[in-house]
Amino acid sequence: MTEYFQDYITVGAFIGLGAVLVLAMLGVASLLRPSNPTKAKYLTYECGVDPVGDGWAQSHVRYYIFGLLFVIFDVEAVFIFPWAIKLEELGMFGLVEMVVFIAILTVGLVYAIRKGVLKWE
């Protein structure tokens, strides 16, 4: 087994430890806590009045645009990382490539701002 695999066994162990922590706390609490169910307690909380409607609301489409923009800038950051690491060897050519890449995606952001989809009204 190499150091590399040991690293990822560590990750697995930590996920397990975190899950066990949550399970243990919830488990201990389930032994200790009281349970006095009454009908009103199981109603959805809407500031004390009886809930109106069915609790599902449609979200505005603008959230989708934010999600899309996020995907784009996430991908951008991810692509810049390897270039940043190899900056020296890739030289001027790499620099130009990367500036083109960033510029194209910046056009997208500028377009979104100019079209006003980021405005909240």
Binding site: S59, Y64, P82, Y111
Partner: protein, 181 residues
């Protein structure tokens, strides 16, 4: 065969492959959109683990970051702006099931065939030291430069398409009114 069983890596692969297959089936059979999306998270996370098994660390974490962390959140937003108000159990099947099955099979045959032709009986030697991010940069900005730059155009096109769909177009009169106010 005995050789196959003695390697723990193969067992990990087997478990991951089964998880991927199971979750993949769940994605298409689940009647609840959010559950389907969560199954897709399972598929992608296990795929990331497969990449880790091939010591492609960078690709694995990019998969988690971009697909699990961004694209699927986008899916969730997509569900929130469309189906969520219609309740939980909706019938997601339609009469194009047969066609979809054929497409899926064809895609599987294509991918499996390509891998077979390309790697046939090559022994994959990825297990060991991780591939450095630097190596990745070399091929990304060298050999695969054109696809890399095209990615930026694809992303731009996706964004412009999304904006075109989401935007409410105003008449010039309305626009003038807004700037006055």
């Amino acid at each position: 065969m005995a050789d196959w069983i003695s390697l723990p890596v193969n067992w990990v692969f087997l478990v991951l492959a089964l998880v991927i297959a199971f979750a993949g089936v769940k994605v298409v059979t689940s009647r609840n959109l959010i559950h389907a999306a969560l199954s897709l998270v399972g598929v992608l996370a296990s795929t990331a683990a497969l990449f880790l098994l091939l010591s492609a660390e960078f690709v694995a974490w990019v998969l988690v970051l971009v697909y699990v962390g961004a694209v699927l959140v986008l899916f969730l937003f997509g569900i929130m702006i469309t189906r969520a108000p219609m309740g939980r159990e909706v019938s997601l099947d339609n009469e194009r099931r047969g066609l979809a099955a054929i497409t899926a099979l064809a895609t599987f045959a294509l991918l499996a065939g390509t891998s077979w032709v390309a790697f046939g009986d090559v022994e994959i030697e990825g297990v060991g030291d991780p591939i450095t991010t630097g190596d990745l940069a070399d091929s990304l900005l060298g050999r695969y430069l054109i696809p890399f730059e095209i990615v930026s155009f694809v992303l731009l096109a996706a964004l412009i398409g999304g904006i075109a769909l989401a935007r409410k177009d105003r008449s010039p009169a309305e626009e003038a009114e807004r700037t006055d106010a």
